[in-house]
Symmetry: C2
Subunit: 431 residues, 2 copies
């Protein structure tokens, strides 16, 4: 008998019918002889509706103890309804809040980090023969005993953290897509589902625009050497297995798909959510760039790629460009404009019409031909590359937004990722 953690997102429990479908699925897993822990998100639009209420009763919705208290009502509803639906088909289930499930966090409301996972009540409940249903996204600050939420991707994190703490055999992440695809099938109709992917590759894909798994949960799974299974709650098909690098399963399973001699490319991720800021005419003296990035750091904004150009016709100034999440654009501009006089640059140019394309694959570590094929494909497709960054298993470029889809298709084809015919299910690897 194995222990399986199953996580169902909001679209999988959007209404009563969906909840009943998930209930049957969970009950079947239990009937097959497994111990089952289920993590659920709030139903469909519940979180948005609660945020709307917050916006109606306050002048500005900001993270707070009370907003967390409000939002956690969403998972309380979905978890209780799911437990009731499972009980109704004759299988024992009990639901637990994040606090009851031992999800102990720090006190940062709206973006709490887990500091400890103590699922004693979940273990007891499993031993008593129950399916344990746990509210995703939420925890409790031990010091203040206040309810907290984990922020973006919180329910995935709950599932992965519980699976790690309970030493589960696998953590299944259910959504409305069939698994991880080589590219977004809305852009690349010939993209295909990956049967397996390493957690290292998944990490690069998640960090570079693939929305199917949140970066944070992939990091957590990788750290605790946990196997993830990304699959659809609308079909019985196997999805994509995300395997920790040092797993014994890795080599034989993962290499099955592609001949050994070829570079192992997992897929092409893209991201339309980036923006590019160019600080024009920064005095070319030591410390200028440091001052620019110091400001951004103080505003707690993560930046991604950086390019510094020395202008040949103006020898004493330089231009500094960097990319960041569009959501942080206004904050970064504000910080820069405030410091314009002090740093002495000429102007700031802000551009959201950029796209980021990333090629991810563990095989490129050892295959020098990858970058040649990559840039050749972009060049042949007439795509101009504005910025570049690389890791051992990834190459990313910033392009004009209008060229992004062409670029994704060109790279997908160049690495022989196309399959015959069209993928039938949206792969969800982009936004």
């Amino acid at each position: 008998m194995s222990l399986i953690v199953q996580k169902f997102g909001g679209s999988s429990v959007a209404d009563a019918e969906s909840i009943k479908r998930v209930a049957r699925r969970v009950a079947n897993t239990r009937k097959a002889g497994h111990d089952v822990v289920v993590v659920v998100s709030a139903m469909g639009d519940t979180t948005d509706e609660l945020l709307d209420l917050a916006a109606e009763v306050t002048s500005a919705v900001t993270p707070s103890r009370e907003l967390d208290m409000l939002l956690t009502a969403g998972e309380r509803i979905s978890m209780a309804a799911l437990a009731m639906a499972i009980n109704d088909i004759g299988v024992q289930a009990k639901s637990f809040t994040g606090s009851q499930a031992g999800m102990i966090t720090d006190g940062v409301h709206g973006a709490a980090r887990l500091v400890e996972v103590k699922p004693d009540r979940i273990r007891e409940s499993l031993e008593a023969g129950n399916i344990a249903i746990v509210a995703g996204f939420q925890g409790m600050n031990r010091q203040s005993r206040d309810i907290t939420t984990l922020g973006r991707g919180g329910s995935d994190t709950t599932a992965v953290a519980l699976a790690a703490a309970l030493n589960a055999d696998v953590c299944e992440i259910y959504s409305d897509v069939d698994g991880v695809f080589t590219a977004d099938p809305r852009i690349v109709p010939t993209a295909h589902k990956l049967n397996t992917v390493t957690s290292e590759e998944m990490l690069e894909m998640a960090a570079n625009g693939a929305k199917i798994l949140h970066l944070r949960s992939v990091e957590y799974a990788r750290r605790f050497n946990l196997k993830l299974h990304v699959r659809s709650s609308f079909s019985e098909l196997e999805g994509t297995i995300v395997i920790p690098e040092n797993s014994a399963e890795l080599t034989p399973t993962h290499l099955k798909e592609i001949p050994l001699e070829q570079p192992l490319i997992s897929g092409v991720a893209h991201d339309r959510g980036q923006a590019k800021i160019t600080v024009v005419g920064v005095p070319d003296v030591p410390g200028s760039a440091a001052r620019v990035f110091g400001l951004i750091n103080e505003a707690k904004i993560n930046i991604d790629m950086i390019v510094q150009n020395v202008s040949t016709d103006r020898p004493n100034v330089t231009d500094i460009s960097f990319t960041l999440d569009q959501a942080h654009g206004p904050l970064a501009l504000q910080a820069l404009e405030k410091a314009q006089a002090e740093i002495g640059f000429e102007e700031v140019i802000y551009n959201e019409a950029v796209g980021k394309l990333s090629l991810v694959g563990a095989g490129m570590k050892t295959n020098p031909g990858v970058s040649f094929t990559f840039f050749e494909a972009l060049s042949n497709a007439g795509v101009n590359v504005e910025m570049i960054s690389t890791s051992e298993i990834r190459i990313s470029v910033i392009t004009e937004l209008s060229k992004l889809d062409d670029a994704v298709r060109a790279v997908h084809t160049a690495f022989a990722l196309d399959t015959e015919g069209e993928a039938t299910v949206y792969g969800g690897t982009g936004r």
Copy 2:
């Protein structure tokens, strides 16, 4: 500085605007220098919507651990939203679940009884200068650490129990009516609001159809010698003060309204929710009646009035009639029909077309003229009395349902309770 507990029902926090209105009211009480604890029900129709969801995912909605978990999401939403609205106008507020507020109950899901109230966190929060917002209707079973709900009138009970445990100066119960009226103004347009009523009288009124306060919370307040103030959240008017009998305030304040020589009548309550069961042709031997009531008792059904008639033309049999809540009718009929052969009665007649009228007043204890005036008024109005029961401060009768409104008006007039003109606000003393 005094400590005031304020309870707002679902209609007072039905939407964002109402929540903001309540927030201003609560904040003003705080600004006036009082410590404030607020107990809230779920917003408007939330509880019904959650029950609808439960009905959609299960074949039958029955009290359970999971249903309680589901329903308690309702108060979680209203309390957090209210705390946010109060914080937004610059006054500190924190919300607490029933469990966080120390509402410890037994384990009867859907109808839990309080076993202990330990509001340590509420005290701490008050000392830190916060308004404490507490979820009504809910608690926690200490043994299983499961969330429970208190059942009908639960939020009133939460408020009164917290007020007692915190030794509050007054517990204010806010709803959409102005206070306790001498009769339901929908039936008696000349009914007037009572400025004060004793908790003993309130108990009789609540037990006999007045819906403004739940019997259970009145019992609790009386036991802990707590002053209640029943008032409207839609106006600043004083409502009705419910004073414990042994309160020092009682005599001067309470007697102010009515000349000392007259009987002290508080009002006329009515109840359309009763049913009458007649068991016809019960063998007139010792133990027959005991067996009938034994059955009803085993089914855990409360009965109210009882009449046993000896039939003159059939000397060996008797008819037994009793009244009970309509909700328990089917269960009682089932229990009786199952035992028909054993007890040997002829048939059971079930009648919901009955009304109950109760005259309540502490003054009737010592005034023998009350019952004469009462029955004379009913007789003059052509109302036939089917059953009678009395306590020291109440006379109740069962009448034909179609005669109930006439009966209420006749009694109200006979005891000089009519005021000039019409009452402008619904008094909510009937259902």
